[in-house]
């Protein structure tokens, strides 16, 4: 029987067996589909079929036996005395994983379709260590999962509170089993919002997929048919249907993007409890993440002009990650109105974030970006110079003119937007031309600071800055050395003078 103290080693919910069996079947099928296909298509003698059938039954039995053993051997408990979470598993060799409470980063829920059908939850314990980054218990009933998650998080938080007594993380223990309570505030993102979001997202990616698909198809057919005839037909077809084709492409790309958005963020639900922020979402894979303010390393707020009008902001929340793959440890929340963004920021940072002064990049940044964008133009012009008969001069000048104007406009907007705000506690980087991006980094979360200077910057006394955090780097190129050197020394001082735990 499940005891919700988890002090004794215990198994997963018994329906979990179905899940394990189904998963192992899925893996077998995935590895052997070629064989299955082979048998489905070809013709074989009775004997071969009989042997194949026997093999399949044997495999199924073996897989079932393995699943049962796996289920029986998979045990977990909370060891209060040694302050750790213990997990034993393995059929042939037994694997014991001990996770000390202070190593626990996050406890999240995850559900795929099968798990939802049989009504179980996956509890994922994320650790700060480099190996065994996460431990997953795949089948727990809702109550067990909730109880386990709450206990683990409470323990982890206790550890943290002990580790830093000077901080005012005071009544953590009281807030323990707060999940049953009603949230301080919550926000649901409706399906309509997700549709709007999908429609206003960048669907070039969707278009890209189709174009790639089309070209592979065309290549296939090109080699089969007579080349010249095929090519000419293609040309004619293309000339007639060019416009329609482009519109069709965009439409399908749009549909793909909307679909992707809906599947990924379906039922997005934010709930702010006393000491955490719960984020639930997903159609195919439903996840629930408990975010704690103390663990947020980096926060990004993104929007584009259209979405801004429609009050659709996106948050990317970075947690500490031991790998360089930072995207993976980012939680993306979309379709939020500014009020909710403010609420989230208030929870994370306790007070309003407002910069006291701004650092701007040197005007050489603009110059460099424009001149770099001219390189392809120069190469193309050189090529045209050698094959001059291809394009008429007037056409060439027109295209060049448009290109130059666009490049200058784009980079000017880029440069105008690009700046670094500094407040007493924060670094805020603003960037982006179409997608406007704000990145918030609390100073005491900084891990290190790098300053780079290519040799040709020396005369102009310019440097590039990189601020390293556990949730990713923020870089800021081409600033005047004299202007930022005091800031850098101040940042180093800020990191070194605090004992506040950054994670």
């Amino acid at each position: 029987m499940p005891d919700h103290n988890f002090s004794e080693p215990q198994r997963q919910s018994s329906v979990g067996l179905i899940l394990i069996f189904a998963t192992s079947l899925y893996h077998i099928l995935r590895n052997l589909w070629v064989v299955v296909f082979y048998f489905a298509i070809g013709e074989f003698s009775q004997k071969t079929l009989f042997i194949a059938g026997a093999a399949v039954i044997l495999l199924l039995l073996f897989s079932l036996g393995y699943s049962i053993l796996y289920y029986l051997k998979f045990k977990f408990h909370i060891d209060e005395k040694n302050e750790e979470f213990v997990l034993q598993k393995g059929v042939i060799s037994t694997d014991v994983i001990n996770i000390p409470f202070q190593k626990i980063q996050q406890v999240n829920f995850r559900r795929n379709i099968l798990q939802r059908v049989i009504g179980v939850y996956s509890v994922v314990v994320e650790t700060a260590g480099s190996q065994d980054k996460e431990v997953e218990i795949k089948a727990l009933s809702k109550e067990s999962a909730n109880a386990l998650a709450n206990r683990l998080m409470a323990h982890a938080e206790e550890e943290r509170a002990e580790a830093q007594e000077d901080e005012s993380t005071s009544p953590v223990t009281e807030a323990k089993l707060a999940t049953g309570a009603s949230p301080d505030w919550e926000h649901k993102v409706s399906l309509a919002t997700l549709f709007k979001l999908g429609l206003t997202s960048n669907y070039l990616r969707g278009v890209g997929i189709i174009v790639a698909f089309y070209f592979t198809l065309r290549e296939q057919f090109m080699f089969n048919e007579e080349l010249s005839a095929q090519l000419q037909e293609q040309e004619v077809f293309f000339a007639q249907g060019k416009f329609m084709l482009i519109i069709l492409l965009l439409l399908v790309g749009m549909l793909l993007t909307v679909g992707e958005t809906v599947v990924k963020y379906y039922g997005l639900h934010l709930q702010k409890f006393r000491d955490n922020l719960q984020v639930e979402m997903g159609l195919r894979n439903n996840t629930r993440v408990n975010l704690r303010a103390s663990r947020i390393q980096l926060l990004q707020v993104l929007t584009n002009p259209i979405q801004k009008k429609m009050d659709l902001y996106k948050l990317k929340i970075s947690l500490a990650s031991s790998e360089d793959d930072l995207e993976k440890n980012q939680i993306k929340v979309v379709g939020l109105p500014p009020a909710v963004v403010t609420q989230v920021k208030e929870y994370f940072y306790k007070k309003q974030v407002q910069e006291d002064f701004i650092i701007l990049p040197s005007k050489y940044l603009l110059l460099r970006r424009i001149s770099r964008a001219m390189i392809p133009l120069i190469i193309v012009s050189l090529l045209l110079f050698f094959y001059a008969q291809l394009v008429t001069i007037s056409w060439f000048l027109a295209i060049t003119g448009v290109y130059v104007v666009l490049v200058i406009l784009y980079n000017y907007l880029y440069y105008k937007r690009f700046r670094l705000g500094v407040s007493e506690e924060f670094l805020i980087r603003y960037s982006g031309v179409w997608i406007e991006k704000e990145e918030y980094l609390e100073m005491f979360r900084l891990q290190a600071i790098s300053v780079t200077q290519p040799i040709w910057y020396k005369k102009r006394r310019l440097i590039n800055l990189t601020f390293h955090s556990a949730g990713g780097d923020i870089s800021f190129p081409m600033v005047k050395k004299e202007q930022v050197q005091p800031l850098l020394n101040y940042l180093v001082y800020r990191i070194e003078s605090t004992e506040r735990a950054w994670m």
Binding site: A320, S321, S322, D324, L326, K351, Q352, Q354, D356, F357, V422, S423, E424, L446, Q447, A448, I449, S450, V451, T452, Q453, P454, I455, T466, H468, S469, A470, G472, D473, Q485, P486, L487, L488, N489, Y490, V492, Y493, I495, E496, E499, W502, M503
Partner: protein
Amino acid sequence: MDPLATDNFSNFQLNVDALPKFEEVKLQPISRKYLIKLQVGTTISLLFFVVGIVFGFYFLPVEFHNYLVWAAIVLVLLFGWSFFNNVMYVKRSGYALREQDIIFKRGFLFERITVVPFNRIQHVSVERSFMDKMLNIATIKVFTAGGSGSDVSIPGVKPQTATSVKEEISKRIYNHA
């Protein structure tokens, strides 16, 4: 002062004249022996190309020799630069330990200074490759939680120095933990 009343009022100013300045710290140079290691490495890769070109001269028909001469010229320029760059790299690189952090500067064409505070270091190690043992030098590696960008590895340090630096850092990390 009532913190609530001052919540919207901010008059934060960077008053940093009194703060220590990391750009003015005198750096420990890294060992000249590390230059030998770099040059040996560059020479080995050069040898591969030279062997390739020599083979070309022997086995390719004469009309290709023209290209080979060009390749040789490019090779000489490239590796000449590479050797020079190694010299400058070692000359320009250096490190310093302060009371609260470690500073490492490296590079010639792209100079890069990284400051890692001790209270953000995850662990330190000293590594010695075969060449390092022959040359009697070591590499200090400092790991942080900020990803590979903020990790620091200081080559060409005397083994005794490296060990004592490592111990010193470990002691200071321990004080913070």
